[in-house]
Assembly symmetry: C2
Homo-oligomer: 200 residues x 2
DNA sequence: TAATTCATTGAATTTATATTCAATATTATA
DNA sequence: TATAATATTGAATATAAATTCAATGAATTA
């Protein structure tokens, strides 16, 4: 209702938006509060009116990013291939609609690679391990020949690395993907699909 | 000859070795000179006897890493599939022999994702773009049906992202790969290989 | 062995950046 | 409109980390 409160919420959002992009592109340590302030066109001091500290701002973004990049655990699917195909499609659809999604993947990726974190952020990160989760689905599916043979964790790692790599490229060099269209990505599933299950 | 010169060279190497691991695991900004000094068991001040600055030390490592992780451009091969299979095999063989190789990939990966760099380091990085290079080979090979259809740069990106992802996992969580053995990785080629070229 | 050069340290110094704060302007409310 | 509350700024202040430096110890060489 109060114009002022709306205003405040909007400026908070603006800060978060600029911070997401900067944290994604430069990482936590190399992103200075001054950089964010400049991008949001406000004084450095004001940042501390909206956020208690750089760390708290980052934590809030990580929390948000964790939700945004988390793999859906429950989904209806006939077979595990459908499961992967389903969220692959949903994921890139999502990235098309929200340009910040690739940035969030980038931020979460940096954390996964060991970027310095508070204990609180470590907890958040530990709670989400796509590679491990998908590996279980793959292991189960291998029994029925849905997936190629080999260490399921390695297959899962390769699969997720590709997804992550494409997301990060979208964040860093979107011009690689012409005219704002998302890349065709259905074939990524073939990284884990066994050839004998090829339906083409 | 002089024991002292050898000694000096060894300590320099020790610093570089510890720095590679730390820069890989924490990134440039979060790795403190004090961390490296501690890992190498020497005083902070002494670091500046061996290296002019943190930046110069990093530059030297990046230069070295650029060589170590660069794709061989010239290779004899019958067809482009052999080319990829060849260096995939060579690459992981190399990583098995030299434990610092995964760390170097990690460092180069961080730079590729935009980690802050001096202009000099930027030059080094610009000179090496595996994704672009492989994309050309793939584009050429697609004409003859060696590779699957689709944007060659995207295929190349997925391929290299998987390789990079496995390397980084080797750097950060080597315990994922049991008993020091390198993972089986020949199948990675299937990310780009067309099904019709399947020789199995 | 004496003199010289180099290695090493720990204590300054400098610098960059996060955070705090007092002062001012703006908006809301009585 | 007058008062109170909030937003905003730019200038301190605090802090952490890189870099320099003077002093000391160890190795080399004449």
């Amino acid at each position: 209702m109060a114009t002022r409160d709306e205003q405040k919420e909007q400026r908070r959002e603006l800060i978060i938006d600029k911070a997401i992009e900067l944290f994604a592109k430069k990482g936590y340590a190399e992103t200075k509060i001054g950089d964010i302030a400049q991008a949001a066109d406000m004084s450095v001091g004001l940042m501390f009116h909206y956020f208690e500290s750089k760390e708290k701002l980052f934590e809030e973004i990580v929390q948000y990013g964790a939700k945004a990049t988390d793999t859906p655990r429950e989904m209806n699917f006939e077979n595990p291939l459908d499961y992967f195909e389903g969220f692959l499609k949903a994921l890139f659809q999502y990235a098309r609609e929200y340009p910040r999604v690739p940035y969030l993947f980038m931020i979460m990726g940096r954390l996964g690679r060991g970027e310095g974190v508070t204990p609180h952020i470590k907890e958040i990160i530990n709670g989400m391990n796509q590679v491990e989760q998908s590996a279980e689905v793959i292991a189960a599916g291998q029994e029925y020949g849905y997936f190629r043979e080999g260490d399921p964790r390695l297959l899962s790692l390769a699969f997720w690395s590709s997804v992550q790599g494409i997301m990060e490229r979208l964040a860093v060099s979107p011009e690689m993907f012409s005219s704002g269209r998302m890349p065709e990505t259905e074939w990524i599933i073939d990284i884990i699909r066994g050839r004998k299950n090829d339906q083409s």
